[in-house]
């Protein structure tokens, strides 16, 4: 995480699209662990009075937070890196056990020209792990697809109390954060 430069002035607009969809969908809580790929979206949520941003010590706290928000009648989303998915496997059980709507945006690591090969073991099983945990998964390869797929994912999750994960390809993230 620390190795990445901050977003250039011409940073991609996809985090703004996701934030706008959160607003439109009524997402009221966003839990996250700091992440380069999600940096702009996190900042947008922090600056938004309609969204309570919750910085977590571990992604494992996220499903509990989402369940609590749902018990209070509020919609919640989580932002994490692919490695964070592995931290949640057991706590994801809360979402299925109680039929809790949840949208997770996952920035992928270890899948395309990653300088750190230690990201590969988790990155290569992230989507399968999510499927095994009961999530519907969608992959976003290109910026132009972000708005459509995230909106559809939010509709599926909040319309049917489903668990939806949207995987943002490392290629796209790296382009927008200036890694390459």
């Amino acid at each position: 995480m620390a190795e990445a430069p901050s977003a250039p002035p011409d940073a991609a607009a996809w985090p703004d699209h996701i934030h706008a969809i959160f607003r439109r969908t009524g997402v009221a809580q966003v839990g996250y662990v700091p992440d380069t790929g999600h940096a702009r979206l996190i900042a947008l949520c922090q600056q938004d009075n309609a969204i309570i941003d919750v910085v977590l010590t571990s992604e494992a706290e996220g499903p509990g937070l989402v369940l609590g928000a749902a018990l209070g009648g509020r919609r919640a989303a989580l932002l994490m890196q692919s490695s964070g998915v592995g931290n949640c496997i057991n706590t994801f059980s809360l979402l299925r056990n109680c039929g809790i709507a949840c949208v997770i945006l996952v920035t992928m690591r270890g899948e395309f020209d990653d300088f750190n090969p230690w990201q590969v073991p988790m990155g290569s099983i992230t989507e399968q792990t999510l499927k095994l945990a009961g999530f519907l998964t969608y992959r976003v390869e290109r910026e132009e697809e972000v708005a459509e797929i995230v909106a559809a994912g939010c509709n599926m999750a909040f319309g049917g109390n489903l668990q939806v994960a949207i995987l943002l390809a490392q290629r796209m993230i790296d382009r927008s954060t200036g890694h390459h």
């Binding site: 977590l56 494992a60 509990g64 609590g68 018990l71």
Partner: protein, 190 residues
């Protein structure tokens, strides 16, 4: 050492519209022993998550008081959540840890607190507004003030005896207890 059933019964007497989240295992049984209540939500999986559920609920319902009642083992598994709560400073959230220094559900093995790990000091370090270690039932009245009114986050570490109690088992249907809780707490859903 406190009698956990007696303590929980005193804390929850005349509870009004207090929202209660309980950790899996013995804490859930203690709260269920006070009688089934639609404003109880108990976890049957994801050990370590109870405080996080309480946080999400407290942030979603700033108009209501929220109490998490759980054991030392559950809190230890999600210790980072004390720091997360410390960051958000939810004024309406209280955490009650029934610390028997053992894992009662799995055969009474010693927990970290048996070796002197102090969860109250941890909560202090995590910027909880009120923190107490409770050894005497006579202090329950003061603790009730925290639970029902003090500006939190509040943390009560109750040192309870590890004597075995009969299990009182509430519903294990997560969908059903969610719907019941939402209806009884009049949650505005979007």
């Amino acid at each position: 050492m406190l009698d956990r059933r007696e303590l929980v019964a005193r804390l929850l007497a005349d509870r009004g519209d207090l929202l209660v989240v309980t950790g899996l295992g013995t804490a859930t049984f203690d709260v269920a022993a006070c009688g089934d209540h639609p404003l109880n939500f108990h976890l049957w999986s994801a050990m370590g998550s109870t405080a996080a559920v309480g946080l999400g609920l407290a942030l979603a319902r700033p108009d209501r008081r929220v109490a998490v009642i759980t054991g030392d083992g559950d809190l230890l598994m999600g210790l980072g959540t004390l720091a997360t709560i410390g960051v958000k400073q939810p004024a309406n959230l209280s955490i009650v840890v029934l610390d028997n220094a053992h894992y009662a559900a799995t055969g009474m093995q010693a927990s970290h607190t048996a070796a002197g790990i102090d969860l109250a000091k941890t909560a202090e370090a995590c910027r909880f507004a009120h923190v107490a270690s409770l050894d005497d039932l006579a202090e329950t009245a003061e603790m009730r003030k925290w639970l029902y009114g003090a500006v939190g986050p509040n943390f009560i570490l109750a040192r309870v005896a590890s004597t075995k109690q009969p299990r009182v088992i509430p519903s294990r249907d997560g969908h059903a207890i969610k719907q019941r809780f939402l209806a009884a707490s009049e949650a505005k859903q979007n």
